[in-house]
């Protein structure tokens, strides 16, 4: 991908002073506050920002579409001579799916479960009679092949649930490409994928967009990903443009302080400390879901007061290991020992004291809290249950805990729905902390958060570890997080431990094959990273 702004054929999309309001809390709030955007034919623009910055709303507005609950209040959207801000529904429908296409974040949810993939791929082209249906189907197979999907001839006859997430995301790219649009909006297309899958999808998307000289807007919160894809990058914050520059320039010398702060998040790195006193050990554990065996002879030992990160792609058995430790899934063989003594396999056989010692924080803070309980009730519950605190003592302790997670007293009466993503995760941390645990299992606790918020949570966890000598078992698929927080690393693949040891040992060569693949798949902030990686990898 060229990174200099080549003079290309004329302007395809020109958005001027776009203003969009969203409806929530019974009134209209501005979401996009006067953003301009210009895209020429064949160019790829990266649109980045934290969640809530309005990047997805702006991306959809480029199609003339606003989600239910949003409305365009001002500005013009000139697409190849047509003002989409003023166009009728019918005019816009004629463009959608044919000249402008959309690739959604979650391919699994965005394919209709009731229809075969091929029918959905050719649907738009057939509806607008771009070419005969049979030709579209042959063409779709060629697109599947170009996107390196397995069995391109037959994969189209499958239903969405029969195909993996990475493959679905490529089928969706084929679906967008089928009518040969002038513009594709990629809305966080790889966010839901594992790093190893992400590399394949990214390269497939980049090649096909290049081959057909399609213009694209690539929306993401991952800087390293956008660096591989885009000719130039626009940074959004609070619905306003922060800055825009060609990719290479943006990466090397960002001008605005906000952009610089985005760039700096990945630099957090805790020095590792070796630990001798083993608090939790997992010995020769096998586990199954029904007849499906998911863990094979897993051995992990976790020293007190340290952080052990468990890494691997989805399906590698990371979360299952956590379920075995907590007793939610009794293992079929092997034991889990706490302070040298074996724990009962099943949750119901464990004593209150044993339960109290191991607490858990989940990925989705949203669903891990009772939406009807206030912050006070959520944090006070373990105080009552494990420590028997009541009245003033309980109240004082809740205030203490709130202070520890850096939130003030005004939060006690709020409901989870009144908190931001980062605040919710902090409340979950306080709830885990309330039980005075020895070990906290963190299951992808930062994966759903923006980078700046992630950094805040990770710093908080590190500070708490220092103050209270807490042990973390940190499950993640994000290598940057691992670098930031861990002392030791366990690499898992298909239910087996591939490698484990100190951070410095695991992250230094020589690597076993899988660790190599995992580490090399993590995008770097170098626009040539993907190109170099693909050249280096054997095909």
């Amino acid at each position: 991908m060229t990174t200099e702004m080549n003079p290309k054929d004329g302007i395809l999309l020109e958005m001027r002073d776009i203003r969009i309001d969203g409806y929530s809390d019974e009134r209209w709030h501005p979401i996009i506050k006067g953003v301009d955007l210009t895209l020429r034919r064949g160019e790829i623009m990266g649109l980045i920002g934290e969640s809530g910055a309005g990047k997805s709303t702006l991306g959809k507005a480029a199609m003339g579409y606003t989600q239910p609950g949003c409305k365009l209040t001002g500005g013009s959207i000139m697409f190849d001579g047509i003002d989409l801000a003023k166009a009728s529904d019918r005019e816009k429908r004629n463009l959608w799916g044919t000249r402008i296409a959309y690739v959604a974040q979650s391919a699994a949810a965005s394919f209709n479960p009731a229809h075969r993939l091929i029918d959905q791929t050719v649907e738009a082209a057939t509806r607008r009679k771009i070419r005969p249906d049979a030709e579209s189907r042959t063409d779709a197979v060629e697109l599947f092949r170009a996107l390196q999907l397995p069995n391109p001839e037959t994969i189209g006859s499958r239903y969405p649930h029969q195909v993996s997430g990475g493959q679905l995301q490529r089928v969706m790219t084929a679906m967008a490409m089928s009518p040969r649009p002038d513009l594709i909006i990629f809305d966080e297309p790889t966010t839901a994928l594992d790093v190893t899958t992400q590399v394949e999808v990214l390269s497939a998307m980049r090649n096909i967009v290049e081959d057909f000289n399609t213009a694209a807007i690539y929306i993401t919160h991952d800087l390293a990903v956008v660096a591989q894809m885009a000719d130039f990058i626009k940074v959004l914050r609070f619905g306003e443009e922060v800055e825009e520059a060609p990719t290479r320039e943006m990466l090397t010398k960002p001008e605005q302080p906000y952009t610089k702060s985005l760039w700096s998040v990945r630099s957090l790195e805790k020095p590792e400390v070796k630990g001798e006193d083993i608090v939790l050990s997992i010995d020769h554990v096998d586990a199954s879901y029904g007849p499906l065996k998911v863990l094979h002879d897993v051995n992990i030992s976790i020293p007190r007061g340290r952080t052990v990160a468990v890494v691997g792609e989805s399906g590698s058995g990371k979360s299952t290991t956590a379920r075995v430790i907590t007793g939610l899934l009794p293992p079929t063989a092997g034991t889990v020992s706490f302070n040298g003594k074996p724990l009962p396999a099943a949750l119901k056989d464990r004593s209150k004291d044993q339960l109290q010692r191991i607490q858990m924080i989940y990925q989705m803070a949203d669903t891990a809290m009772n939406p009807r309980q206030t912050v006070y009730e959520i944090i006070a519950r373990p105080l009552e249950f494990y420590l028997g605190l009541t009245g003033k003592a309980k109240e004082a302790r809740v205030m203490d805990l709130l202070k520890m997670i850096e939130l003030d007293e005004s939060f006690i009466d709020r409901l989870p729905s009144e908190l931001s993503g980062g605040q919710k995760q902090r409340i979950c941390i306080a709830r885990a902390l309330a039980a005075n645990p020895d070990v906290i299992i963190c299951d992808e606790v930062t994966s759903a958060l923006d980078q700046i918020v992630q950094e805040g949570i990770l710093k908080l966890l590190l500070r708490l570890q220092k103050e209270f000598n807490i042990t973390y078992l940190f499950i993640t698929h994000d290598i940057a997080t691992v670098k930031a927080i861990s002392d030791g690393i366990v690499v898992m693949y298909r239910g087996k431990v591939v490698e484990q040891g100190l951070k410095s040992e695991i992250l230094a060569p020589p690597f076993p094959e899988y660790t190599q693949l995992l580490l090399s798949s993590v995008p770097e902030m170098d626009p040539d990273w993907l190109t170099n990686l693909l050249e280096a990898r054997p095909v």
């Binding site: 463009l95 959608w96 965005s110 649907e123 607008r128």
Partner: protein, 326 residues
């Protein structure tokens, strides 16, 4: 496909097991009914000996468990038994086979239910889909208000209103729906017009609202937004992208209402003097005609089980996840 066949067979087996349990419940609850057939027929003046002799003749003197297995055994062989009515202590036996009593009535009920279903189901689907398509419009609000009104009105009242307008003030249909075995099809259709219309008004609201809700529930899905962004029109979105995923809940509510048409229409039958199975059962309960009551109850239970089974099967065959496993 074989997996689906296996599932259907399994469900059929489970349905049969349910029916066995239900038969036991029917039998024991009827045994607990107050009053005694012998006493009821022979009157207050009968001596204890005559009553006992009569009970012995009917087999009522045997223990309940024995009677249950005798009954269940003969039902399994297709024999519903002999009605108690027509018997008396005089020795003359003018009693009839239960099946001779039940079958013509069941046929009448199924005919009325079928005619109603043919009107009500397509109508409800049409209204449900169009109100989902034009949701929150004046049309949507009118249809919702109208169907809510009909469902909130007692069915006998709906029936009398219809009789008032269509049989009395403006006589196009008969107010009596008395049919018998010799009535030909055209005449039958003409006579059941008002009862069928009454039942349609009663059941359409439920099905229509469920269809509308099931469709609207899906309209927030990401794949519906995707369909819009691929340029699909509103009607394409409803018919092609939402409806195929909404069959399971719609089939369930249709099955529920069809079952109601078979088992719950006694009030309408009475109003129009329609000789359906509901009336037969009520009469049999009054006269303590145990074999007929049991047969009717068993038929009702089987109707519920079969219709719900059908709805489940529709749910399975319209769900590619179940039809085409990974």
């Amino acid at each position: 496909m074989n997996a689906v066949l296996a599932t259907i067979l399994k469900r059929l087996g489970l349905g049969f097991a349910t029916l066995v349990v239900v038969s036991a419940i029917i039998f024991s609850s009827i045994s607990m009914l107050p009053g005694d057939f012998g006493q009821a027929v022979l009157g207050q003046s009968a001596t204890e000996e005559t009553v006992a002799a009569f009970r012995k003749e009917l087999g009522l003197d045997k223990p309940a468990v024995v009677r249950y297995f005798e009954w269940a055994g003969s039902v399994l062989q297709g024999d519903l038994g002999t009605s108690f009515s027509g018997r008396n202590a005089s020795g003359q036996d003018r009693s009839r086979q239960v099946s001779d009593l039940v079958m013509p009535r069941l046929w009448n009920t199924l005919f009325l239910a079928g005619v109603t279903a043919l009107i009500a189901v397509p109508l409800a689907l049409f209204l449900g889909l169009t109100t989902a398509l034009y949701r929150n419009s004046a049309y949507d609000r009118t249809v919702n208000a109208a169907t809510l009104t009909t469902i909130s009105t007692p069915e006998f009242f709906v029936a009398y209103i219809l009789i008032l307008f269509f049989a009395s003030l403006w006589p196009v249909f008969p107010s009596l729906a008395n049919v018998n075995a010799t009535t030909d099809l055209g005449e039958r259709l003409y006579r059941v017009a008002l009862p069928a219309l009454t039942l349609t008004l009663v059941i359409v609201a439920h099905m229509m609202r469920m269809t509308r809700a099931a469709i609207i529930n899906l309209l927030a899905s990401p794949y519906i937004e995707m369909a819009r962004l691929k340029g699909a029109s509103r009607s394409e979105i409803i018919l092609k992208h939402a409806l195929p995923n909404a069959w399971a809940p719609i089939a369930t509510v249709i099955a529920f209402n069809l079952a109601y048409l078979v088992v719950g229409v006694v009030v309408v039958e009475v109003v129009f003097v329609y000789p359906g199975i509901g009336q037969l059962m009520v009469d049999a309960v009054t006269s303590r005609d145990i074999p007929v009551v049991q047969a009717c109850a068993l038929i009702f239970a089987a109707t519920y089980i079969l219709l719900n089974l059908t709805a489940d099967i529709i749910g399975i065959v319209t769900n590619p996840r179940l039809l085409h496993p990974r």
